[in-house]
């Protein structure tokens, strides 16, 4: 692996290392102070040494005491403020971030790019561009850890975890799983390959024409039988899906919900839960027909249906 573990790749790593250096410096300072006090006093005031022991008045005791209580409190709050502000600056991913989906499964990482290209245990990203990762786990808690980016994020099953990074230096950086996940925990390794934007585009095109997520969704829309009812010309009275994403949907029980990704996914898996106003609850339940990736593909396809196209 060319990129050593020490290496830094990205602005976040630099700001992290500054923070880490200051904290290390401060700790070494305090350690030297304490060690110096202990060793110094031990030698100077050892039993039998001739040095005179001055009596320290109670008032001086109290002043010293309050002195270092205040000093410690101030230093602690300073570090809290500094590290928190550093943290908040990079909390949210920039809007133009490239969206990649990571599937963590017991003892491997699967990545899928927006155009549907899929990778196993490696992730190719363009340099100098923010990349937002959406991580899902299919079994236990894993943790997507890239030491070179100084970043890690636990992937808790049942929830989508998010993290983002921007690597500036091309290179190959090790990916490890940091949350214990069973026998193959230490084998769940991978690589983040950061490439120049040009090389990345070339690499992307060279990938075998795998069905993109949306393309897979379009194919499933017909093969799974959705088009039978939801296509424009179908005889069955079913809700119109074109331009559905983001629209307010009035439901039969009077509630009005926004059609976000979760609504679409739940309508596929639990159709009888939110019946659209004015439609009979005749939609079959797909929960055990489609697996998680197929549902994600269908949701991506439905989200891509603009108002005009069927």
């Amino acid at each position: 692996m060319s990129g050593a573990f020490w290496s830094r790749a990205g602005a976040h790593a630099e700001s992290f290392d500054r923070l880490f250096a200051v904290l290390t410096g401060f700790s070494v300072l305090i350690l030297l102070l304490v060690a110096g006090l202990i060793i110094g006093f031990s030698i100077r005031f050892r039993s039998g040494s001739k040095v005179t022991r001055h009596k320290v008045s109670r008032l001086v005791h109290r002043e010293i005491e309050i002195g270092w209580i205040a000093a410690t409190a101030i230093v602690a709050l300073f570090f809290f403020w500094w590290t928190t502000s550093a943290n908040l600056q990079q909390a949210g991913a920039p809007a133009d971030a490239m969206e990649i989906h990571i599937e963590a499964k017991q003892w491997m990482w699967k990545a899928s790019h927006p155009d549907g290209t899929r990778e196993l245990s490696t992730l190719h990203v363009p340099a100098g561009r923010p990349v937002a990762l959406y991580l899902n786990s299919q079994d236990v808690i894993h943790s997507f850890f890239v030491p070179a980016f100084r970043l890690k994020q636990d992937v808790v099953p049942g929830r989508t975890a998010t993290m983002w990074f921007e690597a500036d230096k091309p290179g190959t950086y090790p990916l490890l799983c940091a949350e214990y996940c069973g026998t193959g925990h230490s084998k769940m390794l991978g690589e983040i390959v950061v490439m120049e934007p040009g090389d990345f585009a070339a690499w992307l095109d060279s990938r075998p024409e795998g069905a993109g997520l949306i393309a897979a969704g379009r194919a499933l829309f017909t093969s799974a039988g959705c088009s039978g009812c939801h296509a424009a010309g179908s005889a069955v009275h079913a809700p119109e899906l074109a331009g559905l994403y983001g629209r307010q949907v009035p439901l039969a029980d009077g509630r009005v919900v926004t059609a976000d990704a979760a609504y679409i996914q739940d309508s596929i898996l639990l159709p009888r839960r939110d019946i659209v106003a004015g439609y009979a609850p005749i939609m079959p339940d797909f929960a055990d027909l489609l697996d998680e990736e197929e549902v994600a593909a269908l949701v991506a396809y439905i989200r891509s249906l603009k108002g005009d196209t069927p």
């Binding site: 006093f41 050892r46 005491e65 590290t83 850890f145 214990y180």
Partner: protein, 565 residues
């Protein structure tokens, strides 16, 4: 423990009743005793056994980690080993160690009491600990547990097919032993203090055990319920944390760490108490800032319950909660810092001698400072994001647990050994062991800070080759540490047969426990002592120890080894 009856030591005007060791020599008198001193020794025996088992597991792991590829044991065995090391060390050595051995033995005597408030509950506590330990060992022998001592769901509930339920039951039972001991000590300090022993005259060792008992009582139930929920989910298929049915694994972490962070203060606070006693005795000085030390102890105990979220910065906890926990974690660093500075200041103007327990205590202050400072790294969110779940964390908590708490435990053991057995151990041998342990410890765990920064995750059976050199160093250090831990067994055992008679107060310490015979009689004191001054009154406030007094100190120590000038 041999039970040679110890006649009252020669310089007593009146003959004391036989020591607690002499009161009954049958096995039954030991296994059904309600004497806090004997229960302390029973605990000393049981935690030593568990310390050995946990230590062996650590030795095998360190041997395995010498090479990047896993070639000594299989991945599953390695996972079971680090879980065993965690479970046994946390619940059957670190948490019981000081409170149940030194605490049980010394606390009642230090407050001038005849015994703890509920002696029978004290014995029940030991049996619960043994029952829990047996269950955990049975789980180990049948095949072990591979979830890590943290039992994170959904691995522990849905995906692990090891003996999680049995181990959880073992820890559940041991948890009630902790609650019983905690409850017992709180009521003892409230109701059994002798005349004149006001709250602000309590030795800081008693304060630290009192504060630890508060944590024991208020935190352990959270562990009990979360283990019950795991068993509920594994055995009865309840959907408490099951993500497929909408459960939230992070909720498990909340309730678990609500116990487990205060638990680390259960481990370190008693050590702080022991160190204060030892530092003041061997520097012949009052402790610097007694009130500040008391409020620091209570602050750590109470505030310890507010900070658990710093274990979950990367687990998907909301940014808002992470920042609250980060602030609270920074604030709790303050009491620990106060204690370190006060310990250092206690040495000022003293007459410092370097017995073995003093070396351990000084080592404690140094190593605990390093452990505490790295805690600042972990309290800040962005730094913790990189280093959490790596060997940086392993190094951090070993600096506090092994560098801090185990050093303090050895300091206390050496400090009170003459009181417990009436015999002196060989000072030279003990000092060598202390230095060896300090060296071995640092060689073992300092490289792990660097490994953690480089990104070597925790609980890895095999690791990328770049990490091998530092792991080799760490494994080499572990050998020194193992040797250093073996030495005390030798010279403590020897002291039982060939040790010099210790006399009532070999260190000329000021605690009430030193005001009675060694080993003390069954009722601790011939008649209840009366306290009329603050603790650690080594030199009357005004008088400076004159040269003559120093010389006289020298003579009546008869054959005390001469001090390195």
């Amino acid at each position: 423990m041999t039970d040679a009856a110890h006649p009252g030591t020669p310089d007593h005007g009146y003959s004391l009743p036989p020591s607690y060791l002499g009161a009954g020599t049958t096995l039954r008198s030991w296994l059904l005793t309600t004497d806090h001193k004997r229960i302390g020794l029973l605990y000393l025996a049981s935690i030593t056994v568990f310390f050995l088992i946990g230590g062996i597991a650590a030795a095998v792991m360190r041997t395995e980690l010498m090479t990047p590829t896993g070639d000594l044991v299989s991945a599953d065995t390695y996972n079971r080993l680090f879980t065993l090391h965690g479970v046994i060390m946390v619940w059957f050595f670190l948490i019981p160690a000081v409170p149940t051995t030194l605490g049980n033995f010394i606390l009642p005597m230090a407050i001038g009491a005849r015994d703890v408030a509920f002696p029978r509950l004290n014995l029940l506590s030991w049996y619960l600990n043994i029952a829990g330990g047996t269950l955990a060992l049975v789980a180990l022998l049948l095949g072990g547990v591979d979830t890590g001592w943290t039992f994170y769901t959904p691995y522990s509930t849905l995906y692990s097919n090891s003996y999680v339920t049995l181990a959880a039951a073992g820890v559940f039972v041991a948890g009630f032993s902790s609650i019983a001991t905690g409850l017992n000590f709180i009521v003892t300090v409230h109701t059994q203090r002798t005349k004149g022993m006001t709250w602000m005259r309590l030795p800081l060792f008693v304060w630290s055990i009192y504060a630890t008992s508060i944590i024991l009582v208020l935190a352990t139930p959270a562990l009990a319920i979360v283990l019950a929920m795991i068993v509920g989910e594994r055995v009865f298929d309840l959907g408490l944390f099951d993500p497929t049915r909408g459960g939230d694994p992070i909720l498990f972490q909340h309730i678990f760490w609500f116990y487990s962070h205060p638990a680390v203060y259960i481990m370190i606070l008693p050590g702080m108490g022991v160190v204060t006693e030892v530092l003041t005795c061997f520097s012949r000085r009052k402790v610097f800032g007694y009130e500040a030390m008391v409020f620091a102890i209570l602050g750590i105990a109470i505030f310890g319950f507010f900070v658990w979220g710093h274990h979950m910065f990367v687990s998907g906890q909301s940014t808002f909660a992470s920042l609250i926990f980060s602030l609270l974690s920074f604030v709790i660093a303050v009491p620990s810092a106060i204690k370190v500075f006060n310990w250092s200041a206690t040495l000022y103007g003293g007459h410092i001698t370097f017995e073995a327990s003093m070396l351990y205590a000084l080592g404690f202050v140094g190593l605990f400072t390093m452990g505490g400072l790295t805690g600042l790294f972990l309290a800040s969110v962005p730094v913790d994001v990189h280093v959490t779940d790596t060997y940086f964390i392993v190094a951090h908590f070993h600096y506090i647990m092994v560098g801090g708490m185990v050093s303090a435990f050895f300091a206390g053991l050496h400090f009170w050994w003459p009181k417990i057995t009436g015999r002196m151990y060989s000072e030279g041998f003990a000092r060598a062991a202390a230095l060896l342990m300090f060296v071995g410890f640092n060689v073992t765990f300092f490289p792990q800070f660097i490994l953690g920064f480089m990104g070597m995750p925790r609980r890895y059976w095999s690791y990328p080759p770049e990490f091998q050199i530092l792991n080799l160093m760490s494994s080499f250090g572990a050998m020194i540490l193992a040797l250093a831990y073996a030495l005390p067994f030798v010279y403590f055992a020897l002291s039982l047969w060939r040790g010099r008679m210790a006399g009532d107060n070999p260190w000329r310490a000021t605690g009430l426990e030193w005001a009675t015979a060694s080993p003390p009689p069954r009722e601790n004191f011939a008649e209840p002592p009366v306290v009329d001054s603050a603790p650690y009154d080594y030199h009357p406030a005004h008088a400076e120890p004159t040269e003559r007094e120093d010389a006289r100190d020298r003579e009546d120590q008869d054959d005390r080894p001469e001090d390195p000038r």
